[in-house]
Amino acid sequence: MAKRGAAPFVSIGTKLALLIAALVSVFGVVLYRELVDREWDSLVRAKMTAASMVADLFGRSLVVPLDFGDSTTLQKNVADLGQNPDVTYAGIWSVGAKAPLAELHPASVHPDLSGAGSATAVVEDAVVARRVVLDPTGKRLGVARIHFSLAPERTAFDASKRHIFVLSVVLAAGVAALLIGVTRRLIVTPLERLAAATRKVEEGGTARVSVSSNDELGRLGEAFNRMAAAIVDRERRLQELFDHMRQAIVVFGPDGIVERSASRRADDLFETGALEGTAIRDVLYAGQPDHSVEVRAFEEWREVVFTSPASSFDELADLAPSELTLERPSRDPGRVVLLLEFRPIARDGVVNRVMLLATDVTEARDLKHLVEAERLEHARRISSMRLLLAGGAHQFQSFAERAAKRLGECLDLVRSPSRALDSSAREEIFKVVHTMRGEARTFELSSVEASAMNVEEILAKLGHDAAPAEAQRAKLAAAIEGALAAVRSATDDFVEASPIGRAILDQVTVLRSDVATLLAMTEGRDDEIAKAVAKFAARPFGELAVRQTTALPALAEKAGKEVRVDVQGKDVPIPAEVASVLSGVLTHLCRNAVAHGIEPPIEREERGKPKAGRILLSCTPGPSSPLVAVEDDGAGLDTQRIRAQAEALGIAASGGGANELVFLPGLSTAGSASDLAGRGMGLAAVADDLARIDWKISVSSEPSKGTRFTLEHR
């Protein structure tokens, strides 16, 4: 704001009034002098006219006496003059005489006029009239002189002067008042109104100036009104904008007091009533004591922020709370999570205000936590299961079976109303659960452990009650069910982590050599024992497939390709004699798929396929024998080349597709023998091997889409 100088405020009205007063005073003085001078002149002139007339008459009356030298008459005439109170002196002289023949008031002062002829003039304080007396022939007879006093004129003049003075003053005052009034009305009052309106707008209110005159001030007033309206409108729109923002905006200063809450949201979110004037610490951490760590952290941060240069604010922003949880018992879920952002408002490089933007992220946060927690939990369970599989699959299985069985018994006990739940019964339950808890801990099954602890806690709460109430039994039953569910869920995780699926649960450890011996012993037999042994000897498909899942991706990488292996039907049992052959066949087919079928990643991308090729090994149980398939989403068989090669070998294609040609010996569409696929004996050998166990292989393929080899018992 521009600083006005040390000059004190003087209203323009005062200035104008003073100016008008000065001017009018000057005018008044000039007028007065004029009037006064004129008055005197007119008085004097009147006197002179009268004096002239009297002197003329007197002069004529002296012609005869002067001619005859009649001094008595002369003296009488002079004495007659004396009756006129204005005459202060009169004298008559004959021609050439020094001393007057007759004189009135000889003692008075009576200077003569200059010159020689008849004249009337003002001399000091009197009008002097001199007349040369002439006889009818024109002969000079003598001179007469009369002095008329101006004293009465003076008196009259003085009275007039007073009147004129009063008149002047009144006139001047009147004019001044009029002028001041007019200027006030035309200039000063509109300006005052404008100033008052401006102040109102500055303070945040709204104002209108009434415009009555059609001049510059009128225009100014109209312009002001338009400007004020525009300001109000802009503020209103800003406020609307703020109110519609999802964020609450709160501004506070170094003293920690909120100056403005610039949005309706703020009042909603913080629910502390009017935010202005409240301490920001109370807005954010209402109800928390000063020693609470969150309050301490915030207050110390606030202190640092206002005493550090604005340039370091970004560094400090990390130390501000980024989130805030407020209890809201009235809301569901009873709390509100706010995301907090702090921004500096700086002047001259110093932070003098901080703006807080708070966004309500309750829903988003809940969801995120849920998902994250589940993901972590799941990953942890699977990884601990893998550990289990690596080491103690058996023990886990027996543990799970035992736990499920015993928990089931406990549940029955608690649930049947006929059986009392006395302290010894509760002891039993406690022992079961406690043992299970310890065992679960050795398997690192934390959720099973936790469910066991839950049951223990409830048992502890039952205390020494001889016969617990219905409600408490129900609670205990629910807890035991929870434990059962935990065991079941642990078993599910176990199966999920297992490469052979559910089959793992049925696994038993038996030496291969013993099985082989048994097989040999029952060969050719068709009885129950033989069938049972055959079942022992069967391997789950997943076991055969697992070698491919682990080895193929690495091999593919060496060939510059990306490959993913999926297995379906992991637990379908494959008879022993088939399993040994099938293993090799799968390897061969998979290597073929990687070598010829799956394209390099760039090519696959160009074709709109995912970069990683997919190889699916699937096994479905058939009516007497399972069905196995090896499928890839690669380039498919190159039928043209196959035909060409077949022709080159002198073999004509049968009516069917070129696909069957691939199984002919000598055929290979590999340009060179890569270590993956070898030379042209590949698929023919595969077909032969399968034929020896009475299985056949067929193929279907679609160019650019993929290839599928189907293996089944004839």
């Binding site: 004591p289 020693h291 609470s292 760590v293 969150e294 301490r296 952290a297 915030f298 110390e300 941060w301 640092v304 550090s308 560094e315 400090l316 990390d318 130390l319 501000a320 709370p321 989130e323 805030l324 949880t325 709390r335 936590h369 994250e372 927690a373 972590l376 939990e377 934390s446 936790a450 602890m453």
Partner: protein
């Protein structure tokens, strides 16, 4: 979220330890837990914050603080925080020898918020000390007289390299 800080929690309830560990791990902290009140000295060297259940049976939380401090050497900068559900006890943390207190015991969200705040406080204080500390020089007497805000931890806040008090 990489390592936000290392925490050791001492509490007699394994359920609580497990739950607290998973919640704080979610926040990016590295969490160690134990039910043993004693024998934790070796952990103290590597953690930033130790959270101690005040009402552990057998040993009153306050004496645990003392013994921990005795076990700590100059190398350890770990802060000791009370964990309790009793607001009155929390208010007394300084008198009991702790650097701070976490309240609302059992509420994991509240714990996460408070732990984050504790680490913010640690870093804010470090920043303040860095900006305030003169490069070297004898300790001025008036500094020793001025009462520090927060817990009366005379040897706590002394950065290992400087001489003299705050």
């Amino acid at each position: 979220m990489s390592d936000q800080g290392r925490i050791l929690i001492i509490d007699d309830s394994e359920t609580l330890l497990a739950r607290a560990r998973s919640r704080l791990t979610l926040e990016g902290f590295e969490v160690m837990t134990t039910t043993q009140a004693t024998g934790n000295a070796r952990h103290l060297r590597s953690v930033d914050l130790v959270v101690i259940d005040f009402h552990m049976p057998g040993i009153d939380g306050g004496t645990v603080a003392e013994s921990l401090r005795q076990a700590m050497t100059e190398k350890s900068n770990a802060l000791l925080y009370l964990y309790t559900s009793d607001e009155k006890v929390a208010a007394q943390y300084a008198g009991l020898g702790f650097d701070g207190a976490f309240s609302n015991k059992g509420d994991l969200e509240a714990l996460a918020n408070q732990v984050r705040a504790a680490f913010r406080l640690i870093r804010t204080r470090k920043l303040k000390d860095r900006d305030k500390a003169p490069p070297s020089g004898p300790p001025s007497s008036h500094k020793d007289k001025a009462p520090p805000s927060g817990p009366p931890s005379s040897y706590r806040d002394k950065p290992p390299s400087s001489r003299g008090g705050r």
